[in-house]
Subunit: 298 residues, 2 copies
């Protein structure tokens, strides 16, 4: 059966809005809520129905108002708000990055399905999607070959990344002065400086900033293949660092400084400076990844 995670997540969001006082007095129309929550009206109605049932909203003569106060126990547990597909993704990444899965291992859909508690269909869909990341290969009628999260992988990944980033950075710097992206860049610079001040407590915010920064650079000259490639990078980094916290604060601090140098270089519009700063940053990102690869290899 299809999971009702969409509904549960929508319910939780709506409950949170009630609690935070974002829904005061008469509730907005179903359509308005639909827009705010980003879900179909069908689901909104289901949410409203349940909220009324639990007296979290009161219905009188077709008018809905907030009801009793929302309690912690009203929320659905987080685990019930992620779709099966998401679960598979997380479990697979954990299996891959944490387990002692060696390069060359062959992957068995049925076994993973049993292990993750889902139907084989879901596993297969995930593997097909994941295969564009260059870590898997399908052998028809036979199964999947796990190629390994290896040093080679990291080298090849970064070779492309450098090419793409240099290209995008140069195109960025050649934008007209009137481009709104310059303002965005300035805003990001401020955000970096702010984060640097509070680095001790907030160093984990860096990852979001990193993403925004690199995507901004691509925005000046969009290319779907480059965007797709950056998806791979984000994905890999997201999971890899989720289980690799070693030296995180220090790493992030260094990266912020590199970003700032890179931003200054962009603002100077000097091609040589840009290339230098860009290469320096990526080289350091690469060696961080490589180090952790080797480290986790013992």
């Amino acid at each position: 059966m299809r999971t009702d995670t969409v509904y549960k997540k929508a319910f939780n969001r709506t409950a949170a809005m009630l609690r935070d006082g974002q829904l005061t007095g008469e509730l907005p129309s179903e359509n308005e809520l639909r827009r705010r929550i980003g879900v179909s009206r069908t689901t909104v109605r289901k949410v409203l129905g349940e909220l009324a049932q639990r007296e979290l909203v009161a219905e009188r003569g077709g008018v809905r108002t907030a009801g009793r106060a929302v309690e912690d126990s009203d929320y659905y547990p987080d685990a019930e708000t992620t779709s099966r597909a998401n679960h598979v993704e997380q479990q697979f990444m954990e299996w891959m990055l944490r387990g002692d899965t060696r390069p060359g291992t062959s992957i068995n859909e049925l076994e993973l399905a049993r292990q993750f508690g889902v139907a084989t269909n879901g596993i297969r869909e995930f593997l097909i999607r994941f295969s564009r990341f260059g870590l898997l290969e399908k052998r028809p009628n036979t199964g999947w070959l796990f190629k390994g999260f290896t040093e080679d992988f990291a080298l090849e990944l970064f070779e492309i990344r450098v090419m793409f980033e240099l290209r995008s950075a140069h195109l960025f710097s050649r934008q007209p002065d009137t481009s709104p992206l310059w303002d965005k860049l300035a805003a990001l610079k401020v955000a970096h400086i702010e984060l640097l001040k509070r680095i001790e407590s907030r160093y984990q915010d860096f990852s979001g900033l990193d993403n925004r920064f690199h995507r901004l650079i691509n925005e000046a000259s969009p290319n779907r293949f480059i965007d797709d490639f950056y998806d791979i990078i984000s994905f890999i980094f997201h999971y890899h660092y989720q289980w690799n916290k070693h030296d995180e604060q220090q790493r992030n601090q260094a990266a912020i400084l590199e970003h700032l140098a890179y931003i200054d270089a962009l603002e100077s519009r000097d091609p040589d400076r840009i290339e230098l700063a860009c290469r320096a940053h990526l080289a350091s990102a690469r060696s961080t990844l490589m180090r952790s690869l080797i480290g986790s290899d013992e």
Copy 2:
């Protein structure tokens, strides 16, 4: 039910071997056949069973020999030798490239499933696989957005292609003189010259040559992401030109000449010459594609 296309294709191949006299006297062991046909022994046994049934091979005391002559009617029809997944691919590409599918159209799994006569699952798997080609986008719980085989697509595709090819060409040219790839390049050069001589009748052979040539250039400095990207190119071109035969001979002849210039440039190891020849060739490939895009757009 799973199709038995693997068996039928194996049967046809074995029958062809019998007919061509590649299997003379006592037949090889099941394992040996397995190796030659590239299929499991289970399937080989099924093939042998059917061959015996039809008296195409004779079994006497555990020894198998060729039986009566193979006739045309013994083969399974071609249509029965492609898997469902392949069918879906072909039908989808036809639907996309031939039909009047406009950019921005949304794709409906169920409708395609009905139209192609397969289960929705097969459609979905295809779409997931295909989405890495940059022509589709999945919107969860909703469907797929067809972004269109547009001019933008071609431009973005070629921007990357140029970056990758220049990089690979330069690395190719910097290989040691002792690398076996130089010999392969020389062989390809000969093949080009040969083809040029018979261009009137054999111009359709160019596509295979083109593929071999560009893959050879990547071989000197393998990178899985570049290889994957080249898969996209091959795929797109394969289908696109399958339905776009306009001026084919002339186009191919021009491309052969460009390849020859490009090969000479590589052999000269002169970076500037290489860059020039490479760019010239890709520019012409791009404008061919663009022209046909606009042409098919009436």
